[in-house]
Symmetry: C2
Subunit: 236 residues, 2 copies
């Protein structure tokens, strides 16, 4: 009975094995057999807990986003003098993009995941959460009058998700000749120009967020743990 595991252990094993092998071999080359062999379980249990390989990958992606948000959130006190709103969004976003590029095997994995049909749907849910949290709280509506309309909100969500997926897929795959930093800056400008009509205000915040994130450090373990931290000597 050495290999006997209870339900939660099995689920966790499947998750950890999938994560490890996805990062090592890439998503496309990883078979369900690879995962269940490593996790010492059966395909029926993978199906039971996750449905399919795709769902596992998207779950790993969601946790990756949560890790970034959590790390940035934890450092909020150290960034005490910063206002909430645009700048804070940008710092979170920039950290997310930077984390995607910290390790070549991580980059490859997320480039592959970005092609899964389920990925777009999952990004829309994430954006929904973000919009509800940030936009309602900060009343961006006062800045762009179109945002008052729920239908424009919905449309915008879809639009910006499509922008993000396509541009970063292309940058990740090096299909377009752009430095990550430039791609992120351009993305920010175009993305936020839907929310704010004042271009100078956006540019100013882009500059500030670049400075803040350049003071974050990123640590990636072999099996990938994200760790963002502001250096103790950082003066913002």
């Amino acid at each position: 009975m050495a290999n006997y595991k209870n339900g939660l252990e099995t689920k966790e094993s499947l998750y950890q094995s999938a994560k490890k092998i996805f990062y090592q071999k890439g998503y496309d080359k990883t078979t369900v057999k690879d995962i269940i062999t490593d996790a010492r379980t059966k395909q029926g249990l993978l199906n039971y807990y996750f449905g399919a390989k795709e769902n596992l990958a998207v779950q790993i992606y969601k946790d990756f986003c949560n890790d970034v948000v959590f790390c940035v959130d934890e450092r909020k006190a150290e960034l005490g003098s910063l206002p909430r709103g645009l700048l804070f969004d940008m710092i979170g976003y920039r950290a997310y993009f930077k984390a995607l590029f910290t390790d070549a095997s991580v980059t490859r994995f997320y480039a592959e995941v970005s092609k899964l049909p389920l990925f777009a749907r999952s990004m829309l849910d994430l954006r929904d959460y973000f919009f509800n949290l940030e936009l309602e709280g900060e009343a961006y509506m006062g800045i762009n009058p179109r945002l008052k309309e729920r239908r424009y909100f919905e449309y915008l969500k879809s639009l910006t998700v499509g922008m993000e997926i396509q541009v970063f897929r292309d940058v990740l795959e090096k299909q377009i000749d752009l430095e990550l930093q430039d791609a992120v800056d351009w993305f920010f400008f175009d993305y936020y120009s839907f929310l704010f009509t004042d271009g100078d205000y956006i540019h100013e915040n882009i500059e500030k967020s670049r400075k803040v994130v350049s003071r974050f450090t990123f640590e990636i373990s072999p099996v990938f743990e994200i760790s963002l931290s502001v250096r103790p000597d950082a003066k913002l």
Copy 2:
């Protein structure tokens, strides 16, 4: 030897069978076996001519776009007084979107196709063609100075493809609460605001293109042939 076909006949049969069954049953539910049975050929020949089911679907999509462009182009003389450039692009685009929604089984097929990884790549190639044709000829660069930079060009191509895929996938699947007409108008405004900085100029052209396309008629045969035409009595 009644079923003997030469190479081109086989290729054409596979293409027509795939198109018919994709529209009837939907892409996801169509099997390779359905196609080869209807085309009276073997899987080896499907692989030889098209590689995979996905390639067949994307080829059908490309021909769909070409049909729209061709129909609009044919009517150019009748639209004689219209200037080239923004308005003409909008008419072509609007016809394309309208054609997507002319028939429920066509709409379903393109909603499915929009999820294929190959689809995004194919859209980028199409946009490349469009950008080279329209932007270089019309010198949009004078209007948005950022377009002078090749890297911004590349970025914009990727960005707008992502916007288009995501928004129309969501509208096609009725995931967002938008009328097609509104979605297209919003898309135009946001899409062209990357190219033109004058919002009033864009709005004016949106209005005009709505009027022109409302005078096109669309005819769809059971196996889907697109036919756009301006009514003889149309006064533009």
